[in-house]
Amino acid sequence: MPIDLEQFHETFFEESFEGLDIMESGLLELEQGEVDLENINTIFRSAHSIKGGSGTFGFTAVADFTHDMETLLDEMRNGERQVTESIVETLLGCVDVLRNMLTAIKDGVEIDTDSVSQLTSALKAHLGQQIETTATNKGADTKESPTKGWVVSFKPEVDIMKTGNDTVRLLRELNSLAEEVQVSVNNDALPSLSEIVPENCYQSWEINLIGGDVSEDDIRDVFAWVDDECELNIVALADEAEYLGPERRDEERRESEPERRTAERRSKSSKPTESSSIRVNISKVDELINMVGELVITQSMLSQFGEDDDFTEMHVERLKDGLAQLESHTRELQESVMRIRMMPISFAFQRFPRLVHDLSSQFDKKIELVMTGETTELDKTVLEKIGDPLVHLVRNSLDHGIESPEKRIEVGKSETGVIELSAFHQGGNIVIQIKDDGAGLNKSKILEKARQNGLVTNDERLSDEQIYDLIFRPGFSTADVVSDVSGRGVGMDVVRRNIRELGGAVEVSSTPGEGSVFTIRLPLTLAILDGQLVGIGNETYILPVISIIESLQVKPENINAVAGNAEVYRLRDEYIPVVRLYQIFGIEPISTELESGLLVVVEAEGKKIAIYVDELLGQQQVVIKSLETNFKKIEGLSGATILGDGTVALIIDIAGLIELYQKDIAGVATPVKGGGIAA
């Protein structure tokens, strides 16, 4: 039964990527001049594991590439080789190449052989080797002498058993090689009974192997583990050559070939972006089991009521208790399950030391990276998707935010700029901040650019916040020179979109001369939301409680109609656009008179709107079901949920709704069809 090695690939990739991260941070430490043997050992081990695993699982290209890295690292840890900056640089490059190779294999795409051969040559150069043509071919040097058989004399040392080797096993193995085997044992060394140490081996053997096409190597292989613990003589029997030829070997080779190919074939079906498995701390699982235990107890308590025939008032009290317990246990269970998906944000942060290192040398800037709150936990999906936006923001701070060392000295700052990456909890959110002590955003430059691009009209007056917010608009980039790092045109708008897709928001604040702070707010989880249920006509919609500022009864005198069919509501000193949800979703409301319904003022990314609804229904936690997986993506909606009575309610995406409304006002968008699907 052949074993399908593919089932172990996922684990292999996972641990290899972890290993690469370890190597990378270890190498970065080395580069800072801390040559610490344990560190080099750790780096070596990671390379070694990747080599071993890739060889075993059939990724020969990776194994070959890692081989030279390992050799170099081995010399370093043995003290045979000095740790130099250029070696570390090469090894860091190797880590990148390996990461790319493994990603390519995982995703089933071609490996970029150019970078592989480039780094291979760099490694060989360090090792002082020429590109070797082939590895030493083991076994090719011993020529197969045709022979009828062999005489093997085997005299083990007395201690041979003490390494767990068993002479019987060796003899049995020899026996399986040849067609005919004759064994004679020599007991001459056997002491008298009183002197025998039962753990010692006193015998020696002479074995005749006849027929069966046995080579000397076959015999040596049998004794490979003990060749330093015995005297071994192998002599060919008088040769009446009956050479059988190497068919057997060829057959073996043919068998193993397709196997190797299967291993090399990568599963094309596997999705490239996210890993589907998750490592969970055992304590989290125990907690879960605990909670389920509690639930079972409550359930058995409640089920007793079904068995009692006469149901008294006392029962009602206990039933209420039971239900209350059930509720709290369910909630705790829910929280425990959520925690399983939670992972520390350090997984997303760990790539930044390297990134900052590489970029600061590229830009000739001096940067210190400070990271705090790495243990803050975040939903795994959010964590995987927040990486790229974070990279973009850090790159942006490094490229545009922090000034050159000369410039910094000129304005009286320390030569070294500081980028602070921090994560913490705030309310029901996770907040990630990227803070730099650079020059801050240039308001006039942003405004000028925005006017050029027609994002703002010339006479429009904007607050500082509104100006800063312009950098998140599509097609906005102030970089005069499009550099490799930022200013590719796809920029902050993509960052904002990605974060919004995670149900989060990003803002920027800035002080000229002192730096900027980008603040990302993310929901703790993507699966559950505190929802405000609102009724419009016969439909129930859900608004995220977190976006709601207030709900109010409409005073007619505060309603103002502005250009076209737009309305605004004056709330204290603010004018807030009124969004009639029934218009956007094309459904029949109970009333179209604003006075007879309610306005729910909501905010997303600094913009407010007042949503007109018929009634407020109540608040509850709702489980978010994706519309995309079950139906299709609909603008203005972030998902759907199933309510207690079994009906389906749609969840409003406030930021999306605001955009939809703005397009609507501008006359670009057509009303969303299908927005009012009933359960």
Partner: protein, 120 residues
């Protein structure tokens, strides 16, 4: 059917070894480093030890050396999993008391063949 202790810091290798041996009907216990393996080997008797060499905390050779001094493990076969083609790791392992080695990379069949050979 034997009771086998499989030691490797790489979980994919451990999975592969365990899966292969269990498939052949053996009972397998895993450990991720030499120290963990040593603790486990002292708390129950294994018929065969298969261990990686390069591991954090305690490497395979030190582990073998330590375990070999235990009276219960005087003759227990202990195999090293090694990518080292150089003979010095093998020699070090042998000196520490290893029975033999399986050279990485190996496939499940090679592993089973060797294990069967050792267990007889």
């Amino acid at each position: 059917m034997a009771n086998i202790l499989a030691v490797d810091d790489s979980s994919s290798m451990r999975q592969m070894v365990t899966f292969t041996l269990k498939g052949a009907g053996h009972q397998v216990t895993e450990a991720a480093d030499g120290q963990e393996a040593l603790n486990k080997a002292k708390s129950q008797q294994f018929d065969l030890i298969i261990t990686d060499v390069n591991m954090p905390v305690m490497d395979g050779i030190t582990f073998i050396k330590n375990l070999r001094t235990e009276v219960n493990y005087k003759f227990t076969p202990m195999l090293m999993l090694t990518t080292e083609s150089s003979s010095d790791k093998k020699a070090q392992g042998k000196a520490a008391g290893a029975t033999g080695w399986i050279v990485k990379p190996f496939n499940p069949d090679q592993l089973l063949n060797t294990v069967n050979k050792v267990l007889g």
